[in-house]
């Protein structure tokens, strides 16, 4: 066993949490046939299952489209609500996973396996432990 591998095993108790933010084009879904849509959903389910099996997944959800989003700001004690997402972008935040893994390389490798990585982009953010 290599020294690095040994160190990795020992560090098991000091895993880090990362959020994988899935940014994809919502319009893709609208243009998709029903069969294609089911295929994509199936891919996400298989992915979540694989993370479950590996014991790394802590949470994960799919978000409804940005057309359902509201954005809230409070300034001078007045609440302002905007009907829409925080930022208009070509790709939208469509879901997330929270995983717990030993280091960034493991997180990046899970991000690469996410179906969204091949039709959008996955932002990997370490979570601030309180």
């Amino acid at each position: 066993m290599s020294a690095a591998h040994e160190a990795r095993l020992k560090l098991k108790g000091t895993d880090m949490k990362y959020m994988l933010l899935i940014h994809t084009r919502e319009s893709d879904y609208a243009e998709m046939s029903k069969a294609e849509g089911e295929k994509r959903t199936g891919a996400y389910m298989a992915y979540a299952q694989a993370m479950q099996k590996a014991g790394v997944i802590r949470a994960g959800d799919r978000l409804k489209p940005v057309s359902t989003a509201s954005t809230v700001r409070v300034s001078n004690g007045k609440t302002k609500v905007l009907d829409g997402p925080y930022a208009e972008t070509k790709e939208q935040l469509g879901g997330y996973f929270i995983i717990e893994v030993p280091d960034l390389d493991e997180a990046l490798s899970w991000a690469a396996k996410c179906p969204g990585a091949s039709h959008g982009a996955i932002e990997v953010r370490p979570i601030w432990e309180m």
Binding site: A4, H5, A7, K10, T14, D103, L104, A107, E129
Partner: protein, 413 residues
């Protein structure tokens, strides 16, 4: 007789020279905190210089320094009181140190540290500086002057990168085999960038830069030793040794620029060339070609002049052909055109250069215009050559090379 203080200082400095990078790598790979490890080690060295005159130099100075540094790391954590989650790392170091206490050697994690510094999540521009600082202990000011940026800017970049390593959880280890070729490429590129910075001072007047080339070779040697089955690691070392072997031949005794083809082979460092050739031979047995092996092979084909006769230009052309398909670099394309001119004549070389004429990257690239001027002169097209030399001279910043180009230009007649 040397005083105890001097002896202790000399002992501490010897350990620093020999083991600095190993000590930082050991601490950082456990604490995940490069900056804190460097600080703790600096404190440990300071207390060694203060303590060793009284107690004598310990039998195992590295272990002594590691233990002192570990205490500093724990103290620093307590003072910051921010991250309880970091405690397991420090406990781990303590346990491990105890288990290694009787052992003279502790694990060499420098390769892991280099892979952390050249991680894809780290800005490529800061990878080489980061390796120079963490493995070799260069300070930010020295690195800044070598890379031609202000010390403040370099300092900020280094701090930011180290924070990123800690906060993003970048690992300190050799990547899995699937990722290794690409990741190793980044490590080798960083080392070569350090070498190139050192190489770009041909006069050798700037000690710092010369130093940088030597240190890069040292790093290349370290990687080639730690990864003996990676032909590109051997290839890079061979390439750097070939180039370094010709350092003093690049200038005449009057300080004039001497092009490779006109260099006096007596001035080449033949021991270095022999070592480079042996490395390249060893690497080629793996049968996996790569950029650094090919570039080293080009240098090898030039070094054939040692045995009398000319460089092997047709081999050089096919090596550049292979490099072209691999990199699509315009710099490679220029060198290829020059090699073609040696094999098939200046007209053929010019024709190869003409295919690059539309590349906007070459409009302000001195070697393109110098190569063009040289080939035009050989085809007796003096007025076009004159124009190309003028362009090249205007783009050159090194006065010695500028003087060389001016001489060639006035020789057009």
């Amino acid at each position: 007789m040397a005083s105890g203080g001097e002896t202790a200082r000399a002992a501490a400095e010897a350990v620093a020279r020999r083991s600095y990078g190993k000590l930082v790598a050991f601490l950082a790979s456990r604490s995940r905190d490069v900056a804190a490890s460097e600080d703790a080690l600096a404190d440990a060295f300071a207390s060694a210089v203060a303590t060793w005159p009284e107690t004598g130099v310990p039998d195992n100075p590295e272990a002594w320094l590691l233990k002192a540094a570990r205490r500093r790391l724990i103290d620093a954590r307590r003072r910051r009181k921010t991250a309880d989650d970091a405690e397991p790392h420090v406990r781990l170091i303590a346990e491990e140190l105890d288990s290694h206490a009787m052992d003279i050697r502790f694990p060499d994690e420098r390769l892991g540290l280099m892979f952390a510094c050249a991680h894809p999540a780290i800005d490529p521009a800061v990878r080489a500086p980061l390796i120079l600082q963490t493995i070799l202990g260069f300070d930010a000011a020295a690195i800044a002057s070598a890379f031609l940026v202000s010390p403040t800017t370099m300092g900020q970049r280094l701090v930011r990168a180290k924070t990123r390593i800690r906060e993003a959880g970048i690992p300190f280890r050799v990547p899995d085999p699937a990722d290794l070729p690409e990741r190793l490429g980044a490590v080798l590129d960083a080392i070569y960038a350090a070498f190139a910075e050192g190489w770009s001072d041909p006069a050798g007047t700037e000690a710092r830069r010369r130093n940088l080339a030597e240190e890069a070779i040292w790093l290349g040697r370290l990687v080639a030793t730690l990864l003996p089955d990676e032909p590109e690691a051997q290839g890079l070392l061979a390439l750097m040794l070939h180039a370094e072997a010709r350092r003093s031949a690049r200038r005449s005794s009057q300080g004039d620029y001497v092009p490779l083809a006109e260099q006096d082979i007596v001035q080449w460092n033949h021991a270095m060339i022999d070592e480079a050739e042996a490395l390249l031979h060893h690497a080629s047995r793996r049968g996996i070609a790569g950029r650094y092996q090919l570039e080293a092979a080009v240098q090898s084909a030039h070094s054939i002049r040692r045995r009398g006769g000319d460089a092997d230009w047709s081999a050089i052309v096919s090596l550049y052909d292979a490099l072209m398909t691999m990199t699509e670099s315009p710099v490679v394309a220029i060198n290829r055109a020059v090699a073609i001119a040696e094999v098939e004549g200046a007209e053929a070389g010019l024709a190869a250069l003409d295919t690059l004429a539309d590349d906007p990257r070459l409009r302000d690239y001195q070697p393109y215009w110098a190569a063009r001027a040289g080939l035009l002169a050989r085809t007796n097209n003096a007025s076009a050559a004159d124009e190309a030399y003028e362009h090249a001279i205007g783009l050159e910043s090194d006065p010695v090379v500028r003087r060389f180009l001016q001489q060639r230009r006035s020789a057009l007649g």
